[in-house]
Symmetry: C2
Subunit: 350 residues, 2 copies
């Protein structure tokens, strides 16, 4: 309290901190990370046409907002958020912040800089994300929950501050990277939404990265390939599905999945990603053998694709994806922020 009074004496611009917060509906601001605008509600990933055509667990996971982010501009000295999540998800190996919180970044001239996360308390949440800022106009990027849906979202600013459409068109949205995959792709288990590897790439490349990670359900569903194929503007398709399919499914479905992408996108680069040799499988010999065999099956399928004349096919070996010290997962499988940073660095180098 004493410190607070001392500060008040000479930092005049902090006064707005204590003024009333004005909330505006985030619906009016650009949303990046969607494969299609034709969704049932605004904050979800799969087009409404898939509702009765894809497997129900896939449809349900499509309502998780992984990879989605709001862009806005404000000169407020504080930023707050009110948000209601869909399922109030809790998982024992992931923080609630990562599952159902928000994560705010600001543009600093040449990079996106972490501002702070919004820690959720339940289904309906209100949090002040940052305060005591110099009241300068900044461009913001607000990442949405990785493992929950968003029913509604409002952004709060000082009552007299402006909040408006972004001035910059960053991250660039003209040629998105589209990543298809598993729980790891969806962001399991980043500590906060900004730390999934797709969101790290969004920032580092300053390029929209569309997340089609479906926890436990990256099973080469052809409806997803069809949805991806419609994005003729894609710069790159990354396919990271191995942990969710077995050897037979890899052999049976990979070529067809790719043919659906290729029909409308004959030259778009496709990067296949091997499954990480999960750290615990240094000891669990069956887990090791399963992953190794599946990676081998993937490599064979990719060779066949190349031999049949498919161009622009790339392959990322599991070596070094999350380092080799065994430290980068929470449970032997799902990545921590340490694992996601390492994976983003490997992908960025490609």
């Amino acid at each position: 309290m004493k410190e607070w009074i001392i500060f008040l004496g000479y930092i005049s611009w902090i006064i707005p901190t204590y003024s009333q917060i004005r909330y505006v509906n985030a619906n009016q601001f650009p949303l990046i990370g969607k494969i299609s605008d034709k969704t049932e509600t605004r904050y979800e990933r799969l087009p409404a046409t898939l509702k009765d055509r894809c497997r129900p667990p896939l449809w349900k996971l499509g309502k998780n907002t992984s990879g989605l982010a709001i862009r806005f501009c404000s000169n407020s000295s504080t930023i707050s958020a009110k948000w209601e999540v869909l399922n109030n998800t809790h998982m024992d190996h992931m923080t609630d912040v990562g599952c159902k919180g928000l994560d705010l970044y600001a543009w600093e001239g040449d990079h996106w800089q972490f501002v702070n996360s919004a820690r959720p308390t339940g289904k309906v949440n209100e949090k002040q994300i940052i305060m005591n800022m110099a009241p300068e106009e900044r461009e913001y990027l607000l990442f949405l929950p990785l493992y929950d849906g968003v029913v509604s979202l409002s952004i709060g600013v000082d009552s007299l501050a402006t909040i408006k459409q972004p001035n910059l068109t960053y991250p660039k949205t003209d040629s998105p990277i589209i990543i298809y995959g598993t729980s790891i792709t969806q962001g399991g288990c980043a500590a906060r939404p900004g730390m999934s590897f797709s969101n790290i790439l969004t920032r580092r490349l300053n390029q929209e990265v569309i997340n089609l990670g479906f926890s436990g359900n990256g099973k080469l569903d052809y409806e997803i390939a069809g949805t991806m194929a419609k994005r003729h503007d894609a710069a790159l398709f990354i396919l990271d599905f191995i942990p969710n399919v077995n050897e037979e499914q890899i052999k049976e479905k990979t070529a067809t999945f790719v043919s659906i992408l290729r029909k409308e996108n004959p030259n778009t680069p496709i990067l296949f990603v091997e499954s990480v040799i999960f750290p615990h499988s240094l000891y669990d010999k069956i887990a090791f053998d399963i992953v190794t065999k599946k990676n081998k099956a993937l490599k064979q399928e990719v060779e066949k694709l190349k031999q049949s004349g498919n161009k622009n096919i790339y392959y990322l070996s599991s070596v070094n994806i999350i380092g080799n010290d065994g430290e980068a997962t929470v449970d032997g499988i799902h990545f921590t922020d340490l694992g996601f940073v390492r994976m983003a660095e490997i992908l960025q180098e490609r």
Copy 2:
């Protein structure tokens, strides 16, 4: 299922996986990380004599098992655990695995290797940590919860396997490092128990590191200095309390705290650690100012100690402790595994 049958055909040693689990009470195995053996129950940190002498929140946090780890040896093909926690802690910015789970490592000749974590389900838990191992004798290190207490703990092995006292006396316990500090020292917010910086150091140095981190309560209590001072065998005292004290408390209490340590340990090295300039304080100017002033006050106190003839006083500046990209925390303050690995590397270099 098909894969399971295929494996059974040629890996005969996996058969014990499917045998019954035999649980043994972990009480019989060595426990590292305690400042004193004279505690009220086995799995807690503060000596019983402090019960009515220290502040109640400090006493309560002493019952959290951060830094404690069990050592045992087994040739089992599976390792399981049954454990009951004290409070069934949940925090929105930390995983349940980190708060109240377990984390298993094995000795691999020259380093401790991650095996897997045990994910908790509630107050009473039973989990198979690893299976399908070659049934070879291994030395294990099992880290206990960071933000909860342990009421009871049993370790499960295959019914016919051995589980016994460790053959090796690693991590070395003859000259422990003793770390005193805040929530960050206690391990907030590592994804699993092994990833707090004190536990990372335990493994990397193969040296017992005693954790006296007390969430929100690293307030230079003299009773803690007195408890630390009794460990004349300490190789190093690390003092990392800045986030929990204000400028006045630093000026008022640092010298006395050190004098208590020095009375019985005139030459033991003491490393003072500045507070990290928290990533969110790039924007929150008051947070920045408070931390900067407190670090400056610490530096002044440390200079005074040196000038008054105190030997073996070291100082770690906040620069680079968790890197400078702003990415290493979950909430602007508490470290993720990324932050803890970076901090452990900086400390290891010292």
